[in-house]
Amino acid sequence: MAYVSIADRDHEAEHHDPDTFITKYVWSQDHKVIAIQYGVIAILIGLVGMLLSSAFRLQLGFPDVFSFINPENYYQFVTIHGMIMVIYLLTALFLGGFGNYLIPLQLGARDMVFPFMNMLSVWVYALSVIILVASFFVPGGATGAGWTLYPPHAISPGTPGTDWGIVLMLLSLGVFIVAFTMGGLNYVTTVLQARCKGMTLMRMPLSVWGIFMATILGLLAFPALLVSAIMMLFDKLLGTSFFMPAMIQAGVATDTVGGSPVLFQHLFWFFGHPEVYIVALPAFGLVSDLLSTHARKNIFGYRMMVWAIIAIGGLSFIVWAHHMYVSGMNPYFGFFFATTTLIIAVPTALKVYNWVLTLWQGNIHLRVPMLFAIGFIFTFTHGGLTGLFLGNVTIDLPLSDTYFVVAHFHMVMGVSPVLVVFGAIYHWYPKMTGRMYNETLGKWHFWLTFLGTYSLYLPMHYIGFLGVPRRYFAMGNTDFMPDSAITLNASMTISALIIAATQTLFIYNMIVSLKKGEKSGGNPWKSTSLEWQTPDTPPKHGNWGHSLPEVHRWAYDYSVPGQAEDFTPQTVPESEVPVGRDHGTEH
């Protein structure tokens, strides 16, 4: 595409520091402010999602003891909890939050390529969150259809929130997708076009690789959610029958015929499975950087890590129907999707090996971000391996729709990415604020969260083995469920409440350290990547002062042999510190 060749990047250097409060903190076009706005909104709504989970966990652990939770709001809480955590917290936080913060800084750009659109993105995202929350206050309340929103029950009587709740939910998703697309265009274009001199793709930190690939997945996969949301809105509001078959509603036959509920599921999971990797790939990237920095060692097998990210991204589009083995789709699809699903385990396993091998022969500093990173490897290994059960079509027969599934996906795309989120926030907090967090509080936060979540989710797998189904308001007396399982459920609820309470430590730490934290200096971790080499901390609008940085090496020159310091920033020319050319094991 060579029809334009205007070198427009010089014009982008004209960044004026905004002077009013409004332009600096509200209508800001600075990617760092936008990142923090994204992060704060995501964490706030994430706390709501967590409180919802505490509420329904009370019912599960102590059935019918707490009267404020009844079947109606139980299903609403479960639904909105899932929706918030997957989309409004994790997707927004990784891409809108970390993507916005790290892409320009790690690539040596002054800002995103389209700052105005970036600003629109965050406020449209805020709007989508407001619509989501509003759905609790409309007649009939929020939707209780489960986060998968399967028709017909999502829009037919018998489910909570089929009047306004589901409409607002779908609307909110549509608005979110618009926000994401505006952000996504920015991230992709910035990665492709706005890197500083010397920053080849293969010199990019893995954080950027993960976020970049996740954004591509999001841009191509979110349309599937949009398409299904639009079609469901038509069915709900205009009486069409895209997904609505001939059926009975409260005893009366509908006038819909022929609609295909399975079609919705195909569309939904065509988005839904890449969505897993939209959350996972940024986590993979960020955790790689955390491990490398705090182990003072280059990431092991960088190229394999990049290729694995690319391969996982590509494969993630042809595994979606493993969510549908027992959905009533053509059962012969099971052979194909089980195979592709288990193949995707190979690049994923390689990533795990390489993280662990990065620790090998390192010089491991067990500071808070590193603890979270190690915790991530443990929980991700666990969650990834249970995925091999569910991905194998035969094993899915007994385990699908049981608590094993709930335990699996919470382990792999709940706990694991959240551990990375925390680790990464602690890691970049000094850069964002110029101050250190409180190390003791951070350690307490890690231990309670890590051990709490494991004590919550490990037993949950076994409840699933028993055959206890998910999304049940109450089990009652079920012949295969022993009384001890009820005790186990109570203990899981207590774990959940402890985890929830623990997060106040995190919030407290973040807020208090803003004022009271020790000054961190520009590069407290002695890190090599560009964001730590900014002239100011926190970086000013425009990031780099007068001149853009130039890059002379990859982002992982830690402990280069023969050097006094155990890190060599990317900006250091080869003439000053030779790269470790002759010292690699590549022969």
Binding site: M202, L219, G239, G259, L267, Y302
Partner: protein, 220 residues
């Protein structure tokens, strides 16, 4: 879902091939002098052009998914094809003219011919508006003929697909309106050249999408 898979397969294959070509045969831990000279820009073009290309991939994904949904839903026994109004042929012709006019305007803009740009923009905008008006009239004709939206999925898909395509067209018209305003208030064609070039691509894309959609609607 095969259609979506083919479209997305092509997109993903392009992305992956390109990425692998960038990443193979490099040993990033070895500092190559050549690498130090890399400008940091992967495409020799404007960022907006890159963003547009990415957006076109997103739009392709949306339309491919709708087409997939269409072909899957079509197999159900309740599907009753509708008789497309002949007006659609006229509309198609309008859109072709709009696209051609935009291309002509682009050529003028590249050559810096201000007055031609002015008239070219006006003409292409006019044809586009005619297309959209024609689509709305086609809706009315269908409605008058009893092809209501909720009567049959074939009808519903017709309204839905034309509406989504029309919305994309409206988005294009917004950008068109901005450059037209600029030109008519005296700006020279250079200041809108990029916008016109990108819009030309966008119009061609939407024409292509329309031809695919129209062909599908006609043939089923």
């Amino acid at each position: 879902m095969y259609i979506t898979l083919i479209f997305l397969g092509i997109i993903m294959a392009t992305v992956i091939t390109w990425l692998l070509r960038q990443t193979f045969n490099t040993q990033p831990w070895i500092s190559e002098a050549a690498d130090n000279e890399v400008s940091g820009s992967s495409m020799d073009t404007n960022s907006k052009a890159v963003a547009l290309t990415v957006f076109l991939a997103v739009a392709t994904s949306i339309f491919a998914l709708f087409i997939s949904a269409y072909t899957i839903r079509m197999d159900e026994p309740d599907w009753r094809p509708l008789a497309e109004p002949t007006l659609l042929w006229t509309n198609t012709f309008m859109l072709i003219l709009a696209s051609v006019a935009y291309h002509w305007t682009r050529n003028a803009a590249v050559k810096g011919l201000d007055s031609r740009v002015k008239s070219g923009l006006t003409v292409s905008g006019a044809f586009t508006v005619l297309f959209l008006v024609g689509q709305v009239v086609a809706w009315q004709q269908l409605n008058a003929a009893g092809y209501y939206l909720d009567l049959n999925p074939a009808n519903a898909f017709f309204y839905l697909l034309t509406a989504i395509h029309g919305l994309h067209m409206l988005g294009g018209l917004w950008v068109w309106a901005r450059s037209t305003m600029k030109v008519w208030t005296g700006a020279d064609s250079d200041s809108v050249r990029l916008s016109i070039e990108l819009c030309t691509v966008y119009w061609h894309f939407l024409l292509l999408v329309w031809i695919v959609l129209f062909g599908m609607l006609l043939s089923t």
